[in-house]
């Protein structure tokens, strides 16, 4: 029978997984909300982040430096992709954009194989968080506690940027109505680039953060894309709050599903998504469908 340390331990597991999903999905949902682009290559930015992190750790010997620099590098890649490839397609059908970002999955995967090879690699935990600790009878790797704290801090920081700054106001306006925002004299093209680069950088950041828990291998980006898309659907398109709520719900559902209903664990997140779509088609925090 499940008892307290078990439940508490599993809740922490679910929280660390959910926070990781949040870092990944928040970029995806903002890009979708503002640019109206389903960026299927978002998982590739996650993979690029992990590999850039690997190289930066090898070069500098510091996990923390890699954590700071790898997202910047991925952000630059994101900006280039948006400026050169995505921009000409904004006036075309969404299918063209989906096709383009789908193509980028393969392009980035081959690029990674070409630069880093196909072997499975892994990022070691930073020395500071290499052990495990016992909290209320549940054993948790200290690195996972760091991930939880870091992810929640990022959520607060992102909320402050979006709700309390001018840039955030522009992004919110852009999500609501990009054309009208442009009509108010905002250079919406530049904001698009920033949002896309920012989303890519966040995906890169989650790639580095996930590195010590998971391994880095070329198809890693494609396998994480599905849960991230589910989070976006559950939380509501373009909503920061929705992305956080969706991530935490999916994180807990998947973790407790694996722990208590092992036979059904593969379908449980799809069940959650289907329930949300039935009861609230716009997602938990999405705008009502027009």
């Amino acid at each position: 029978m499940p008892f307290f340390p078990d439940i508490f331990g599993q809740a922490l597991n679910g929280l660390s997984y959910g926070v990781l999903l949040f870092l990944l999905s928040v970029g995806l949902t903002l890009i979708f909300g503002m640019l109206d682009v389903v960026n299927l290559a978002h998982g590739s930015f996650y993979m690029l982040g992990a590999y850039a992190g690997l190289s930066l750790i090898a070069a500098t010997g510091s996990f923390w430096l890699a954590l700071a620099l790898a997202p910047l590098a991925v952000g630059v890649v994101g900006a280039v992709v948006e400026r050169t490839c995505l921009r000409p397609l904004y006036r075309r059908s969404p299918l063209d954009q989906v096709l383009l970002t789908f193509g980028f999955i393969y392009l980035f995967e081959d690029l990674v194989k070409w630069i880093w090879g196909g072997r499975i690699r892994s990022i070691p935990s930073p020395d500071l968080f290499s052990g495990s600790v016992t909290v209320f009878g549940a054993t948790v790797p200290s690195y996972r506690l760091f991930v939880i704290a870091f992810g929640l801090a990022m959520a607060v920081a992102l909320w402050l940027v979006i709700e309390r700054t001018r840039l955030g106001a522009i992004v919110r306006a852009g999500v609501f109505d990009a054309e009208m925002t442009a009509g108010m004299g905002i250079n919406i093209d530049r904001v698009f680039t920033w949002v896309f680069a920012g989303g890519a950088a966040l995906a890169g950041l989650s790639g580095v953060i996930a590195g010590p828990i998971q391994s880095a291998y070329p198809p890693m980006g494609a396998s994480i894309l599905i849960p991230a898309l589910i989070v976006v659907v559950v939380g509501g398109l373009g909503s920061l709050k929705g992305s956080l709520a969706g991530s935490l719900i999916i994180g807990q559902a998947e973790t407790f599903g694996k722990a208590w209903l092992p036979g059904a664990s593969m379908v449980i997140i799809y069940v959650v998504m289907a329930l949300v779509l039935l009861l609230r088609p716009q997602g938990l925090f999405g705008r009502p469908l027009r």
Partner: protein, 404 residues
């Protein structure tokens, strides 16, 4: 007389054009002996590409030693990427058999591909040397006169470990493996000797193949009261599981044991020190001290820029050794397939893993030894050090009705 349809017309026209185009060359080539065509159905892209690469390199080492000719026939390898997808693997198999008309087929890595290609191979009487896939059924109810396996059946590395773990590690074990046929096969094989030796299964779990977060399972293992874990994972699953097992602090309290793939050299570097102390059962480790293996390791590392051979490379080596020895014994005649299967079935030679021979009852290799290995730090980094061994491990072959 049938009517000419568009398709038959096109087919005939294409064939005529093709034979006109290649005619002069085939005629010139037939003045000498035709090349020995060997088809390889292996993964050359994706996470499992490193396995396909190791197997291919093991084969190349033998063929290079023979100067790429056997019994006067030039050796020609035709490599096909199966992408670890059964439909693709089956399609490539059909291509190799029907269009390339290979003399001998080898591969695959994926058990699902092996099961998918089995009937095509059997019905077309193509000789297949299985170089990895361990599906037990191929040595049992789905065995075939034309199929030989040099690698292992899933049962082989796990069955002897049950008794060994019960005797030397603990009688209270938690089992965990990916949720697919090979995972279930291996866990079942372990129980065959574990339970009779007084072992008690505390619990078992089957995470999905390709799982990235094992935290929920690790918390369960921790709370279960088990004293040891028996696990089977490979590829990225093996890296994630072993790393996270260590991060959760379980390694010091609950001994981690498993099937050899858990710590093979394709995953060991990424696992790093997390893998120290993990005990696995496998038919091979590069540290074996027989002379054939010492020469194999030396030549392999010399040819492939310092790479340490793994079990997969040994499987490739033995695949090629079987082909070379059989074709030599048949004086280059691969047309008389009945005779060739008799020759292959009777082969015996020194392999890096020990004295190699097939079980006449199943055409599956009899493992000279299953080695119990522990990951330790040795010269050249982490490696699987043999600490014990179990001799002559042969699959029970239940349901296989090959003529003995």
């Amino acid at each position: 007389m049938d009517q000419w349809t568009r398709r038959t017309f096109l087919g005939t026209a294409t064939a005529a054009a093709a034979s006109a185009a290649v005619g002069p060359w085939t005629r010139r080539a037939s003045a000498q002996a035709a090349p020995l065509k060997i088809g390889l159905v292996l993964p050359y892209t994706g996470v499992y590409a490193v396995l396909g690469e190791s197997i291919t390199q093991g084969m190349e080492l033998v063929f290079a030693r023979e100067g790429w000719t056997v019994a006067g026939r030039k050796i020609e390898m035709i490599k096909e990427d199966d992408e670890m997808k059964p439909p693709v693997g089956v399609r490539k198999t059909e291509k190799l058999i029907d269009s390339d008309k290979v003399d001998i087929l080898t591969g695959p890595v994926h058990s699902g591909i092996l099961m998918g290609m089995r009937d095509k191979v059997h019905d077309s009487k193509t000789i297949l040397i299985v170089s990895n896939a361990g599906a037990d059924a191929i040595s049992r109810e789905r065995c075939s006169k034309w199929i030989f396996r040099v690698s292992f059946s899933n049962w082989q590395p796990c069955q002897p470990m049950g008794g060994w773990v019960a005797k030397n590690v603990s009688k209270e074990v938690f089992q965990i493996a990916p949720n697919y046929q090979a995972g279930k096969d291996m866990m079942g094989a372990f129980r065959e000797t574990f339970v009779p030796a007084g072992g008690k299964m505390v619990a078992e779990d089957y995470p999905k193949l390709g799982e990235t977060d094992y935290a929920p399972y690790l918390t369960k293992i921790k709370q279960s009261g088990a004293k040891a874990v028996f696990a089977f994972f490979s590829g990225s699953d093996a890296v994630n599981f072993v790393k996270q097992y260590d991060q959760f602090g379980l390694k010091q309290q609950i001994k981690l044991t498993g099937a050899g793939f858990l710590t093979e050299p394709d995953v060991l570097p990424a696992q790093g020190k997390s893998a120290l102390g993990v005990i696995t059962g496998h038919f091979y480790t590069p540290l074996l001290d027989n002379p054939t293996n010492q020469r194999f390791v030396k030549e392999f590392r010399y040819k492939f820029s310092g790479k340490m051979p793994d079990g997969f490379a040994c499987q490739g080596y033995d695949t090629a050794e079987v082909i070379v020895r059989a074709v030599k014994a048949a004086n280059g005649n691969t047309q008389d397939k009945d005779r060739l299967t008799e020759i292959i079935g009777a082969l015996e030679f020194e392999s890096p893993r020990g004295h190699f021979r097939f079980d006449p009852k199943t055409h599956n290799v009899i493992q000279p030894f299953i080695y119990v290995r522990e990951v330790k730090e040795v010269a050249g980094g982490l490696n699987n050090v043999p600490i014990d061994k179990i001799a002559d491990v042969r699959d029970p072959g239940t349901g296989c009705t090959l003529p003995a």
